[in-house]
């Protein structure tokens, strides 16, 4: 199944939380807590991206308006996506642990890394070519 399809299946669990508890058996509480910490780490990543979006808009007034708004919007959208995906991945990991399956793999970290790299390159270009003012 495609990653999108698997994500959709995970999304259905959002609205039926009791179904997670019904499946399989309760894993060792330490594994659940580790999963929770991973979820929180992703949430912090999302919050950092959102904060970065605000910071770009507030602290780079010399940047040309279009570039500034574009980069800010990209960071804000990435932050929101990161938070939503954090819940989804947490649910899928929890379910996999209950069923004794392998943990889900994801290409999201790679995509996020590429996106952050692109933003960084855009900022370098903005400085080098003086897209300011």
């Amino acid at each position: 199944m495609s990653e999108f399809g698997r994500s959709l299946r995970g999304l259905r669990l959002w609205f039926a939380p009791q179904r997670i508890r019904e499946e399989g058996e309760t894993p060792d509480y330490r594994f659940s807590l580790a999963n929770e910490r991973t979820f929180l780490a992703w949430l912090r990543t999302g919050l950092a991206l959102v904060g970065g979006g605000f910071a770009v808009d507030q602290f780079l007034p010399d940047l040309r308006a279009g570039v500034r708004v574009g980069v800010a919007l990209a960071l804000l959208a990435a932050g929101a996506l990161c938070a939503l995906r954090a819940v989804n991945h947490w649910v899928r990991c929890e379910r996999a642990m209950r069923r004794g399956e392998d943990l889900p793999v994801s290409r999201f970290p790679a995509l996020l890394g590429l996106a952050v790299g692109l933003v960084a390159v855009a900022m370098v270009l903005a400085v080098v070519f003086g897209w300011t003012g």
């Binding site: 669990l13 959002w14 939380p17 997670i20 309760t26 509480y29 330490r30 659940s32 807590l33 580790a34 929770e36 910490r37 979820f39 929180l40 780490a41 949430l43 912090r44 999302g46 919050l47 950092a48 959102v50 904060g51 979006g53 605000f54 910071a55 808009d57 507030q58 708004v69 800010a72 919007l73 804000l76 959208a77 932050g79 929101a80 990161c82 938070a83 939503l84 954090a86 819940v87 947490w90 649910v91 929890e94």
Partner: protein, 110 residues
């Protein structure tokens, strides 16, 4: 406040201190949320106190308080030596705070 003395009958504490580490993770995340909310409030005030500025700042304060509430409840739940797993409601609420700040940011930036 979150130092809960183990109730009689509780099993020995996990030597890996998993509940403790999870509590600290919630604290770090609260800190990250505080920074994002402060930046959001600053953005609102930046637009000027008249018009949309003040309600915007109030909104980010509300989001921050909501996150604080979720984190506080979870930290209290992590007191016993064998805490229950995180509930879906708390996870979704914590993520919703991030999404709300981002949506608020999109509204202000545009």
């Amino acid at each position: 406040m979150d130092r809960v003395t183990p109730v009689a009958g509780d099993e020995a504490r996990d030597p890996g201190l998993q509940p403790e580490r999870t509590r600290l993770a919630w604290r770090r995340t609260t800190l990250a949320c505080t920074v994002a909310a402060v930046l959001a409030a600053r953005q609102g005030l930046h637009e000027g106190l008249s018009g949309a500025g003040l309600p915007a700042a109030g909104l980010s304060l509300l989001v921050w308080l909501a996150f604080l509430g979720v984190a506080h409840r979870r930290i209290r739940e992590l007191g016993p030596a064998r805490p229950r797993p995180l509930g879906l409601g708390a996870a979704a609420a914590a993520a919703a705070c991030t999404v709300a700040l981002a949506a608020f940011g999109v509204g202000v930036v545009l």
